[in-house]
């Protein structure tokens, strides 16, 4: 496959790996922001071949992991309503709420549908005028344009039975929060390539400058990640801190302006709760007042209590890079991908699930 196989070329990857080894003279902690990058690091065995002085910290960029528990409970509540079709991306279905998951709700008769695009949900709303269709719109900047577009479409079509249960989180405020957390020790960031393909990286210059930290916009294939790591290590060794773009084939500095226009039309920034981390100021996108009619939170009277998270689970510390999954007392014991206590164990992008697989590997390969 053009533009994929080249970035999986083992010979080139080995060369970059050698250069990383040669360049790194000290211990460095590099955080990849995006869960997709974590997944790729694990799947391609990169964590097992990186030199020992490079430690990868797995950031909070897993949308499944940071969606607040009570929002998942709301989705399940809505799904169980008689005349509701709840549509969602696939990996939200297994995430445990306080009482079960969407998958269990589906098994008990709720109409839950897995979609690849919110535009399909608009189509379902059109075809089912007697039902309320709710799209569980979670994600980072990457999924926001399609979610916003679904609302514009629904508005144009005059649909009154379409709404979204929205939880949109933003990367730059999260980087800020991580850098200001006294416990976090991060030397450099690999910024999430796909987020930047939408938003560009102009916002990141200020962060690199303020926190004196190298930020490399990085892709997802093995060679992308290794090149991103190498660029970060070079900067760290040279004592520089600026924004670099490794993912040039996709990301432009200004991003995708058309997508940004659509987002701006529908969303405005506001405070946002991140599961396991807490509320980060101005870190979310909420529907503007004129689109309130499409906000499932406001449209439906959802009466559920906020349930506290598991006391043992250290998901928040894991997502801040403060602790490794195996430092959690529940890890691999009471918390496994079959019976997850916290969201990072559910999604294949979550750091705990990734480490669960990786832990097996270390144990049996060594």
């Amino acid at each position: 496959m053009k533009h994929l196989t080249e970035y999986r070329n083992p010979e080139l990857a080995k060369k970059v790996l050698k250069e990383i080894e040669k360049t790194a003279t000290r211990n460095w902690k590099i955080m990849e922001i995006c869960g997709g990058q974590t997944h790729s690091l694990v799947k391609n065995g990169i964590l097992s071949v990186l030199p020992e002085n490079i430690e990868m910290l797995h950031g909070p960029g897993c949308p499944v992991c940071v969606t607040p528990l009570h929002l998942i409970d709301k989705a399940i509540y809505l799904a169980k309503e008689k005349d509701v079709i709840l549509c969602s991306f696939g990996d939200m279905l297994r995430v445990p709420g306080s009482t079960g998951s969407l998958l269990e709700a589906k098994a008990k008769g709720a109409d839950v549908r897995i979609l690849y695009s919110p535009l399909e949900a608009v189509q379902i709303a059109r075809q089912n005028p007697d039902k309320e269709v709710v799209f569980f719109a979670v994600g980072f900047e990457t999924t926001a344009p399609a979610n916003a577009l679904s609302i514009i479409h629904a508005q144009k079509l005059g649909l009154k039975n379409y709404s979204i249960l929205n939880s949109h989180v933003l990367v730059p405020p999260a980087i800020k929060a991580l850098m200001e957390d006294p416990l976090a020790e991060i030397d450099a960031f690999l910024a999430a390539g796909h987020v930047c393909s939408i938003m560009g990286y102009t916002q990141y210059h200020e962060l690199a400058e303020k926190y004196k930290i190298p930020i490399v916009v990085t892709g997802f294939e093995p060679l992308d990640l290794l090149q991103g790591i190498l660029a970060a290590v070079k900067q760290l060794e040279n004592g520089t801190h600026f924004v670099e773009n490794q993912y040039k084939r996709i990301v432009k500095e200004e991003g995708n302006l058309e997508a940004q226009n659509i987002i701006e039309k529908v969303y405005e920034t506001g405070n946002q709760e991140w599961r396991g981390i807490g509320t980060i100021p101005e870190s979310g996108w909420h529907l503007k007042k004129e689109f309130e009619g499409f906000d499932a939170n406001k449209k439906f009277n959802i009466n559920i209590d906020k349930v506290p998270e598991s006391e043992i689970c250290i998901a928040g510390d894991v997502m801040k890079g403060v602790k490794k999954p195996f430092q959690c007392p529940a890890f691999g014991k009471t918390c496994t991908p079959q019976n997850p206590l916290g969201a990072p164990m559910v999604s294949s992008e979550g750091a705990c699930a990734a480490y669960y697989n990786f832990r097996n590997m270390i144990k049996i390969i060594e």
Partner: protein
């Protein structure tokens, strides 16, 4: 004969009804008409023609016996339909035991409202698949359930076969160093089904690879006998689930070579787009075999002579340590564990 030509030669008879109703499953006149003019006519053979409650069969020696139910949605998909799948699925399960499949039972659970033309198409597919596999449908049953209590049609088939005299299929025969071969490109069926189920359009149509595998397994057993230690078809859960099961049962490890695993380029591309892993995606017309290392290349060459197994390849081998685990080496030299899938693969958000 190709399937569409075959279907043209079996035009549907004139029925007084165009959909199946509860009455067709009640055992009365309509049941009779449906069976007499439809099913019996099309599938006729000396066993079925007796119209008895069961079939009288003569079987000598060790037999293999397997059953499977088919609940696939949609019932028609690129490359096949539920009828063909129901025959091939059970024929293949019997073949995986090292047996020559001979007889099938066939049971329908039909949701009322199914168009008779669709039902006819399914029966024709069954006839075609049975003839291609050289098996006879010897007994069966039809039930009709209320609208909403099924999903168009469910089929159960049970198969009986006679063990191949040279077969030595037993998981305990697997030794360290045994090579693991897949008979063809993997993940094709799963992606074909998903593309119609989700209404996804790709530039190239991906067709299910559903087919009978019994002639291939017979040829391998004729040629290599008990040097073949295991056959298994990696249907639900894909290659990953099946190999994990085997590794667990045999208390040995398995190591796969990522780059050796055949996946069609269009299937690989679809998996990339959809966020799915071909190792965990379902197959129908593919089997794996564990063979003595000395015959591995010859087995692959034998398989590659046939259209339905032209991409056969050695994908890994059995190791003594890492008991119960399946590992995969990737091109960079890194290794990872291929875990047992937790549930169905769920597409990722972004």
């Amino acid at each position: 004969m190709n399937k569409s030509l075959f279907k043209l030669q079996c035009p549907a008879p004139k029925f007084d009804f165009d959909i199946i109703t509860l009455a067709h499953g009640s055992g009365g006149l309509l049941t009779n008409q449906l069976l007499e003019t439809g099913v019996f006519e099309l599938l006729n053979n000396e066993y079925l023609d007796k119209h008895h409650d069961g079939a009288f069969l003569e079987l000598n020696g060790k037999i293999a016996f397997s059953t499977d139910s088919f609940v696939i949605s949609p019932i028609e998909f690129p490359g096949g339909d539920i009828g063909e799948l129901a025959v091939n699925g059970t024929v293949n399960d019997v073949a995986m035991c090292g047996a020559i499949p001979r007889y099938l039972s066939l049971s329908f659970i039909i949701e009322e409202g199914l168009e008779i033309s669709k039902f006819w198409d399914i029966i024709v597919s069954i006839k075609y698949a049975a003839e291609k596999s050289d098996v006879k449908v010897v007994t069966g049953d039809t039930k009709v359930v209320d609208k909403g209590k099924g999903d168009k049609i469910y089929i159960n088939t049970t198969g009986i076969g006679i063990m191949h005299p040279k077969a030595g299929i037993d998981i305990s025969n697997i030794k360290r160093g045994d090579k693991i071969i897949v008979s063809n490109s993997i993940a094709t069926h799963g992606i074909a089904i998903l593309s119609v189920r989700e209404g996804l359009q790709f530039e190239t149509q991906i067709e299910s690879d559903t087919t009978n595998l019994n002639h291939l397994t017979k040829e391998l057993l004729d040629k290599f006998g008990d040097k073949i230690h295991l056959f298994r078809d990696p249907t639900r859960g894909g290659v990953a689930a099946t190999l994990n099961e085997i590794a667990g049962e045999m208390h040995k490890g398995i190591i796969l070579q990522d780059q050796q695993i055949p996946v069609l380029p269009q299937v690989k591309a679809a998996c990339e787009i959809l966020g799915l892993d071909p190792l965990y995606t379902a197959n129908e017309g593919v089997f794996m075999c564990f063979v003595e290392p000395g015959i591995a290349n010859e087995v692959v060459n034998t398989l590659r002579q046939h259209e339905e197994s032209k991409n056969a390849a050695v994908i890994g081998e059995v190791i003594d340590d890492k008991k119960g685990k399946v590992l995969i080496t990737n091109p960079m030299g890194g290794k990872r564990v291929v875990n047992m899938p937790v549930g169905e693969q769920l597409p990722r958000i972004c």
